[in-house]
């Protein structure tokens, strides 16, 4: 094992539109203690674990999308220290 000590990855979370209202926040910093490179899925798991609106809005099967540094991202995408991770409800422009 190269490194068995947990490192800390800190990201900026952005909540948009309906999710900003549901979470009562436009965003927040989030620190993830991790033994391996974290992914978007780790972020969502950490938020779901809070319960309440986070668990309800981010429940499996809910139609939300993610963007890492302004690009749409899959749950498996790795994230790095300082990344901006946005959670987007289904878009309704046009």
């Amino acid at each position: 094992m190269r490194d068995s000590v947990a490192t800390l990855v800190t990201i900026r979370l952005v909540y948009l539109a309906r999710l900003r209202d549901a979470f009562g926040s436009a965003g927040e910093p989030l620190a993830l203690p991790t033994h391996e490179p974290p992914t978007v899925a780790h972020v969502i798991d950490a938020l779901r674990a809070r319960g309440g609106a986070f668990a309800a809005e981010l429940a499996p099967g809910r139609a939300v999308r993610f963007a890492v540094n302004h690009r749409l991202a899959a749950l498996g995408q790795a994230i790095e220290n300082g990344d901006e991770v946005a959670i987007l409800p289904p878009v309704t422009g046009g």
Binding site: L16, A17, P90, V91, T92, G93, G94
Partner: protein, 148 residues
């Protein structure tokens, strides 16, 4: 190629004239304008507010136009999308595509709108008699985007 996100209105005629200016290889111009309706899901709508994800929006629109260029033989394309408070009758979005022939222009214009409706980070909040409400995404928009 250009994409713009702005609070102010746009002049369709001026935008089209500017897009095709100097390109006499253009034989077809297709344009789509989306406007605010005063009714949705059988409820009166007194207006809406367009929110977007600043920083991502322009890149998302550029990616859609790039994809249209890959798929269709177009000369040029323009997307203008408004944000902020809008009233019934207001213009929301403009897509203009120029090409040599009409079929390509129609198809590419529709493609850009279908992708914009499902991939560009905009959200509508309606003002109704019983309060404000975020507009739900429509399954028909996903189906429209999937046919391309």
């Amino acid at each position: 190629m250009a994409v713009r996100v702005q609070t102010g209105d746009f002049d369709v005629g001026a935008e089209i004239a500017q897009l095709r200016a100097g390109d006499t290889g253009v034989g077809a111009v297709a344009a789509f304008v989306g406007t605010v309706r005063d009714v949705n899901d059988a409820s009166q709508v007194s207006g809406l507010t367009l929110e977007h994800y600043a920083g991502m929006t322009e890149a998302a629109l550029e990616a859609i136009v790039d994809e249209a260029r890959r798929r269709f033989d177009i000369r040029d394309a323009l997307v203008v999308h408004r944000v902020g408070p809008l009233a019934p009758g207001d213009q929301i979005v403009l897509v203009v595509v120029t090409s040599a022939h009409r079929g390509t222009a129609f198809d590419a214009c529709e493609f850009v709108m279908d992708y914009l409706k499902t991939r560009a980070p905009f959200w509508k909040k309606e003002r109704r008699p019983d309060g404000e409400r975020w507009v739900d995404a429509r399954a028909s928009d996903d189906e429209a985007a999937q046919r391309w």
